[in-house]
Subunit: 282 residues, 2 copies
Amino acid sequence: MFQEEKGGAPVKEDMVIASRKNEMLRRASRLLSSAEARRESGLFLAEGARLCRDAARSGISIKQLYYTEAAAEKYPEYLQEIRCHAEQVFQLAEHAAPLLSDTKRPQGIFCVCEMKGQSSQRWVPAREHTLLLEQMQDPGNLGAVFRTAEALGIGTIVLCGESCDVYSPKVLRASMGAVFRLNAKWVPSLKEACDLLKKEGIPVYAAVPDSAAVPVTSVDFSRPSAMAVGNEGNGLSREGIEACTQTVTIPMAGRAESLNAASSAAILLWEMVRGGGSGLAI
Amino acid sequence: MFQEEKGGAPVKEDMVIASRKNEMLRRASRLLSSAEARRESGLFLAEGARLCRDAARSGISIKQLYYTEAAAEKYPEYLQEIRCHAEQVFQLAEHAAPLLSDTKRPQGIFCVCEMKGQSSQRWVPAREHTLLLEQMQDPGNLGAVFRTAEALGIGTIVLCGESCDVYSPKVLRASMGAVFRLNAKWVPSLKEACDLLKKEGIPVYAAVPDSAAVPVTSVDFSRPSAMAVGNEGNGLSREGIEACTQTVTIPMAGRAESLNAASSAAILLWEMVRGGGSGLAI
């Protein structure tokens, strides 16, 4: 409502935080390093001009914006756009910026944001293509998978079991903001996810590196389907595979063990949408 | 010839290097940080039990093996196998290991290796599927693409123009040793690579994020073909695209700018081999 007023040139000086001991700053800093602090507060920290702007554009609620003077000079357009969506805005002394940064050379723009949805909300499968990730541990891979899913138009990713936190700095960065735009859900186990999906009549395919499994190229993805992908080290769990409708594989001429989780996911998701099948029920 | 003798339990104590000022160690250390030192010497440094063993298994010539006492206890089988292929073996004092390491917690196994082939050797296209990468700058992406290419049975990757060094520690690590097993070639420009390929009657497809280009799904890959992929920031150069036979694209329902270079390459390479076409002329 006050966007015009807030979006123009700053009408007043922002409060400057110069002390690294500032209590608000310390709380924000904990969001960087501690998954527990994020879970308890429902908040996370986004870093960088591009990522913070992506958060603002995605309708993520921004509680606080912190910026350094150098960042204000370097990224004025980004800052102005983010400022429009931030509840509170603080200027940060240059020497305090590393407190909020996960990178060697901080850009000097940070936002404390509210996680999307409620973690307590129960996932209800929709009639669309869905990606299930079981116990994904590597933040870089998880972020990359979010990016690919977004590119290919897969709207929902369900994290099954113990997974790395999607709001960790590394995942946010690797996802290039896709975490803000996709639907990420969590269920305690792949089996539970399979049961919910199968109840809706949605088949769940377990991706396995087993040349005896059905080639993913033979599967009909014209109707909503789910694909389950395991983690880098161990693949899918046995219980998880058993709960799925069918095992599928990527038929490969080369050295199959070389395909990493993010590349496997790219090929599997691509196969789901390749024929033009969006997976949406018509 | 002397494999049995060298491969058994160490028959004598290895020379111990305790000084961080040791000249040989300093030379090895320069291979870690300087692409120029690698280029001038034709040598590179591999780090880690798995990667060094992969080098040994791939027939890479190992000039020196360095290991710490802790590594000897933790990775005896790996060390024994690597030792069989190493010309010289040195034990390294624990405090000297970080000199050779690119990681926070070094495993304590390092090999000075000889690059494959001669960089002066001119590339002659073979009748097989080939991946051309133009000005690839990100080591993580480059390594990931090597892994994927290996998995899918693409044997040759041609780096066109200024590219990050395939023997840099980050590329080696991200490639999980695929750099040792694939054919990596270098040509000064994508145009030059295209000219060589087209002279052999091999079509070169330029991958572009342009929905007006031919969908990659409509291309006949039953005969040897080449795919050109640009770098993360800028895509393919205009001159490069013009030198190719045809532009192709990955038809996407989602947010195309989200697909990173490694994931694009995974999907494009997959399309090349998907129909079972190995690209090898029969």
